[in-house]
Amino acid sequence: MATATEKHVENLDEATVRFCGDSGDGMQLAGTQFTNTSALAGNDVATFPDFPAEIRAPRGTKAGVSGFQIHFSSKDIYTPGDTVDALVAMNPAALITNLDDLRPGGILIVNTDNFDKKGLEQAGYEGNPLEDPELEEKYKVHQMDMTKLTRSAVDGLGLSVKEADRCKNFFAMGLVFWLYDRSLDPTLRFIDAKFGKKPEIAQANVAALKAGYHYGDTVEGWNTQYLVEKAKLPPGRYRNMMGNQALAWGLVTSAKLSHKRLFLGAYPITPASDILHELAKHKHFDVLTFQAEDEIAAVTSTIGAAFAGEMAVTASSGPGIALKGEGLGLAVITELPMIVINVQRGGPSTGLPTKTEQSDLLQAMYGRNGECPMPVIAASSPSDCFDAIQEAWRIAVEYMTPVFFLTDGYIANGSEPWRIPDVSELNKVRVKHPDPMPDSNDEGAPKFMPYARDEKLARPWAVPGTPTLEHRIGGLEKQDGSGNVSYDPANHEHMIHTRAAKIAGIANGIPEQAVDGPDSGDLLVVSWGGPYGACATAVHRAQAKGLKVSHAHLRYLNPFPRNLAELLGRFKKVLVPEINCGQLQMILRAEFLIDAIPYNRVQGKPFAVHELLEKIEECVAS
């Protein structure tokens, strides 16, 4: 076969590609492979997987569309991109639900299979959009029957029609790999590792992948390849990491460096389950994973593990955290160190289980009975989970307290390059357990005081099995010092204030709030959690336009960094973008008496940078 047309290569700074199709079409796999390949090619990458809550919605319907977006760049990037440069749509439903995000002039690759009467009706099209001349005017459209092309590529390998058709995601991948001049090698290695035991399936996937690649190379109409150069990341060895994986590795790291066994008590829930799955793979790190009978057992078993003296963790999402509420109160009053992870998702109730939201901040801060303060820390990106969770463990141990750790579905399932650290450069957490009391038969000899406090107001972590330190803890109010049950009114008030002062005192042991940009000006954008990337990008663009805008991203939400009040006061206005109805903004107003401006979207998806930029410009101008 001769080359149909002369090909040429165009250099780009960055590009955004989205694969979308039916939830059985293997779009998440295609996206993950393209991400890994781009990361290995040296690009900075950011991803956004978006899948339905149903395992298998009826085929071909809008409810069943699954998508995976990858933004890859030769520069530092912080978001998976607002608009798409190249869209692969595997069926009509995928096209109708995703086309609006393709930028004018973008590349549209359509699998024409299923664009029949039934398929179009299922998607809600009245006519065939592929016959609309406007489509060709607006986008660079490439139509092909991928199903048929894949079948002929795997012909002769003895596959059933169903098996052959399942390879079509590899055809789509091959085509996009050609388009962006990507190496097939990482995916070939993946196929070998994943399907090595089923050689005919492995061979078929390889054949489909290569067929897609050669299709781009040979078929008329494909005359441009796009090249995105390596990104200039700080030197080091990198790998691509998803948020939940980085979180799990951070936990394993903390446990190892503090010489503790790691206990995870968890009940499966989207999007937190992958933490349980990942940790279950690392038992040889002395990791005990306990799949509890429910969320309440998950948190209370974790309290038992904390009492045992080990690194105790529970991980869930909003509805599960709601069930854990009473247990968290017990963890607070028993003053045991543990980590409570909430991978937030759309609420209320079951809400949008597979979509992102950051609406559990108030739940984390106040969602328990009684005066029940807990430190709250939030991760800002997939790779930040690794560092932030280790910080959570440090605080838990140093202050003898459960610590709330917030991430969200966007961080949990998104991925980005992670610079592999030297183990020697990581912070070790020193865990102290009190020694046995000196041997004495003396009646008046000092007794062990389980609620004696150190300079940080932390009580001693005495572990069962240690002679002479026998003590009883529990949910009834404690006499400060002795830990005996006490109904004394003055003691109760004293303990309420002591527990609050202990948590407030954490501010003395955390860094001051940093600011990206000048430390005074017209507008300070204050963000927390997943919107970090969108806010950083929008603020950088505003700064490039000459606006006096800076950005403060909060990792510590309770207590706040000790310089935060002063920092907020140095800006004329404060803007707080959140994927909720204004939870941090409400706390900032209450704490600091400032007129913080809310900017809220609650649509189950991350912020678009251009929308944020518009809001920033509007705030500065008014």
Partner: protein
């Protein structure tokens, strides 16, 4: 160094015991303190975990490690503790409300996992701490503050629940039968796996006399039956009655007149098949049966706390001791100059 010889008093904490005068809990506490020194364990290796309710104040009165946790969740707290620390002996103290109502789920799962816990359920058939509402073990028709026209709930039977959840050790005793109670607690402590003990316990304030038929010295020989492994089911003041099987139904028969001991049901606590233990758990005084006390079932099965730790050992054998550098660098990585 030999272990110091401990006495029951060594297991008394310095806290005032605050149960109502005459409460059956005092007797259970006393027997527990008596059993403790016989276990060959130092105090620091023993932990008592409880939920909420009168019985759940128990850990405060034991000079061991302990936790008074939250409603119904003691088995789950104990599970986390025992999983991490198989070297500790962990007791769960619960009541009929705590264990079977709000904590029924955790009780069932602790039992089916066969975690090495000793669970003692104080059954007084009433909510004591909340002042007298009916409990999951209250008989149907029970009139209480929350059921002025009588309870319309069918009661649960703790041992039937435990056996249904495949408990490996199941026993019953009575607060005032102190010798039997102490022996039963000792047997529970010695069992490897979940030991579940129901104790008939009197609440003299809100449900006085709930078990009078089983406790009264004049009637107890007729209304209870002491189980002994390998022995026939015989009861009665003159040991002249027994229980035999008629098909799948138990029936009470008088010995003599053609019915010999060999015709009776023989107790086999080690039977791998739990059906007979279940049948015993369903024999009720109100249906004309003596209620068995003693060990219904005692079989050996793998324990969760062993198995979860064995998996760690196995994984370590397969992959070596976890190495962070190796973890970080495995798989696809790339260098940036």
């Amino acid at each position: 160094m030999p272990l110091p010889v401990l006495t029951p008093n060594d297991f008394a904490s310095d806290q005032d015991v605050r149960w109502c005068p005459g409460c059956g809990d005092y007797s259970i506490l006393a027997q527990m303190k008596k059993v403790m020194p016989t276990l060959g364990l130092p105090r620091e290796k023993i932990v008592f975990i409880s939920g909420i309710g009168c019985s759940s104040r128990f850990p405060y009165y034991m000079n061991t490690y302990g936790m008074h946790s939250i409603h119904g969740r003691a088995p789950a707290v104990a599970t986390g503790l025992k999983t991490c620390r198989p070297d500790l002996q962990v007791w769960v103290i619960t009541g009929d409300g705590d264990g079977l109502s709000i904590g029924g789920n955790h009780l069932m799962h602790a039992i089916r996992r066969n975690m090495d816990l000793n669970i003692v359920l104080f059954n007084n058939r009433i909510y004591g701490l909340t002042k007298g509402q009916y409990s999951p073990t209250s008989p149907a028709g029970k009139k209480t503050k929350s059921t002025p026209m009588g309870s319309i709930d069918n009661p649960l039977h703790p041992l039937s629940i435990a056996i249904g959840a495949e408990a490996t050790f199941v026993a019953r005793s009575i607060d005032t039968n102190i010798k039997h109670l102490a022996e039963t607690l000792k047997r529970a402590a010695d069992h490897r796996g979940t030991a579940f003990v129901e104790v008939y316990q009197n609440c003299n304030v809100f449900n006085d006399g709930a078990w009078s038929y089983a406790k009264d010295r004049n009637t107890k020989a007729e209304t209870t039956l002491e189980l002994e492994h390998g022995k026939p089911l015989i009861f009665g003041k003159d040991r002249d009655k027994g229980v035999r099987l008629n098909g799948l139904e138990p029936e009470v028969v008088a010995l003599g007149g053609g019915i010999a001991e060999d015709d009776l049901l023989f107790h086999d606590e080690r039977s791998p098949e739990p059906s007979l233990a279940y049948l015993l758990s369903r024999m009720r005084y109100e249906d004309g049966f003596p209620e068995p006390i003693g060990v219904f079932r005692a079989v050996e099965k793998p324990k969760y706390d062993d198995m979860i730790n064995d998996q760690i050992e196995e994984a370590t054998k397969m992959h070596g001791i976890g190495d962070l550098e190796k973890l970080y660098n495995a798989g696809e990585t790339w260098e940036v100059e």
